[in-house]
Symmetry: C2
């Protein structure tokens, strides 16, 4: 129905996650209406990100080379792995790079990370072999890791991944912990769902400890 | 929080309509995970669309030059305006190029279009001067147009635009019509909102006509 170049743009936008055909069309026309330099800035930022950003060869967080151009064959380390002040004996295992950002914002954690780049999800065809689990196991001994914090999401996929990892790690000489589930701070007992409230009760701790 | 190139990509994506900060982040990580050629295809389709697509110099629909490169100073005509089999005396006035596609899909209309590229919306700072109204008026006489169909959306902005145009055109020697509002075909009286049902009653027609 549309001119070729427009249809192709709509198709490409429609492949992005969370963008349906109607949104793709709206975004395409928005881009066509923009001044050329504004639209091309988006194109360029995609190109630059793909050129410069790769995965940290140690923890699989995002890693950027300051000078232009890294190849997948020549991976770099992320800022956190390069920071010698971080505690290398504790590793926080998360699903995605955005989870690293979330944990960093708490300022409660001074160890290193391991990004699985997903969670076990049979419905999406993601088995343990598609995650960076092999790479995690390979780090434990050489880096002298003594504690692994399973910090995957508290949902079905994240819990399954944490359970899978805890079984894998249980015979190794290290402590394996899971982040607590419970009521969010500032939340309201009345409005909590029963699963969350159940977990909060289950995870109760002695006061004054 | 993120590496520069990633933050820039998130920012650029966040400027798109309907994309909030969380979606921008999700799309950015999706692009980083894609194979380079897949992500770069999106970048290229933006670049190609901006190079090839411009506005039809007659009706302001999207127009594409088959050979690479049109400049805004050298506009082309869209496929519909170039099609000599179309009835040049009837012009259907719509808000956006996507509305041209919607009308074309009905196969009920064989005239030409005029795309206003928006609708009057004081709240968004869009007055009549920001629409392609001057260009519409300039077409009427030279093209021998005898009917103008006001096919803007049946909402506040579209109705305001149609009202504004109908006042502008009322003293000219041409017929001005507005598309009908009423119950959608296949719809259900019980679930129709009262404004739509009111319009449907108001626009009732003798049966057997």
């Amino acid at each position: 129905m549309y001119a070729n170049a427009v249809q192709e743009l709509i198709d490409e936008l429609g492949r992005l996650p969370g963008i349906g055909p109607k949104s793709a069309q709206r975004i395409a026309f928005h881009l066509l209406k923009l001044a050329p330099e504004d639209a091309l800035r988006l194109a360029r930022s995609i190109t630059v990100a793909k050129e410069r950003v790769s995965w940290c060869r140690r923890c699989f967080n995002i890693a950027e080379s300051a000078a232009g151009g890294v190849s997948p064959d020549d991976p770099v380390e992320c800022e956190i792995c390069r920071d010698s002040r971080r505690d290398g004996t504790v590793v926080c295992v998360v699903e995605e790079p955005r989870d690293v950002v979330a944990v960093e914002k708490t300022r409660e954690f001074r160890g290193r990370y391991h990004v699985l780049q997903g969670a076990i999800s049979p419905i999406d065809g993601v088995g343990p072999d598609k995650l960076r689990i092999r790479e995690l196991l390979a780090r434990l001994d050489p880096e002298g890791i003594t504690e692994v914090i399973l910090c995957t999401n508290p949902n079905i996929e994240g819990d399954a991944t944490a359970l899978y990892l805890s079984k894998l790690l249980k015979d190794l000489p290290l402590q394996v912990t899971r982040i607590a589930s419970g009521l969010p701070v500032g939340g309201d007992l009345e409005y909590a769902d029963e699963v969350t409230l159940g977990r909060a009760l289950e995870g109760r701790r002695a006061v004054g400890e």
